[in-house]
Amino acid sequence: MTASAFPGRHSIYTGRVTNWPLLVVLGAALMVPLLSLGSLSHGNWLDPAGPAVPLLTAAVVVLAIVLAGLRVRTAAGPNGVSVHCGAFGWPHRTYRLDEIDRAEVTDLPMSLWRLPLGFWWTPRHTYFTLRTGPALQLTLHSGRTVTITVPDPHAAAAIVHEAKSA
């Protein structure tokens, strides 16, 4: 049953993913060295060698993780694929259907070089990912790939195909 058979019908997929354990582990892994550095310093608080700089950096890192890497919300349908990250829905990006070449399910392996956490991008790839395993991958006409963690990537890819064929 495709949308083309029912012109007024809107089928969309929505999904929301949060990975608290990974966030806690990564937050701790980033915090511990910075806090150790702060406790080892002997200068005054505001000296360049003092503890204020590492502690402030640690606070900013934790705040950034909580605000931007907390969760990924996705909506896919005839209006394209919309992704909202973090506690306040930012960063936010919408990929229109005419920008998308194809949608498929990819498997994200665990790797130190490709840590699947939050929003990040390279010149040819954009990631909105929070865990390893199956994820939705969009290939844009520009050649860029966009990988998004969603609860059911097969359903999300099917909705994009359905909307594109309508």
Binding site: F6, G8, H10, Y13, G15, A75, S82
Partner: protein, 115 residues
């Protein structure tokens, strides 16, 4: 979760959205405590007005399916998706059917013929 609304249907859009949430809860796609998409985001994806989604969410809250919490959006409050009056009417129907000697299959056939 999959949502489907038909803009050409005679059934009101909020009722269609209510039916989507009920289906999601009944199938287990939406577990108790699960957060629903913000009304503005869902409205944009479904090409409906934000108030249409809010009307549906409010109806589900009034029926006890959803709960609203400040800063945490709309969440599934109960896995029971049938409205209480429908459940009561169904209980009464089963009782009357038993009194008249009708079994489960007879009742299912009757409901299938009527719907």
């Amino acid at each position: 979760m999959r949502w489907e609304v038909d803009h050409t249907s005679r059934e009101a859009l909020p009722r269609q959205i209510v039916a989507c949430v009920r289906r999601g809860v009944a199938s287990g796609e939406l577990a108790v405590g699960e957060q629903l998409p913000p009304a503005a985001e869902l409205a944009k994806a479904l090409s409906v007005d934000r108030n249409t989604v809010l009307t549906a969410y409010r109806q589900l809250r009034d029926e006890g399916v959803l709960e609203f919490r400040r800063g945490r959006g709309a969440r599934v409050a109960s896995a029971v998706t049938e409205p209480a009056p429908v459940t009561e009417a169904a209980r009464a129907l089963v009782a009357v059917a038993r009194r008249h000697g009708l079994g489960r299959q007879d009742l299912l056939r009757l409901i299938e013929r009527m719907t």
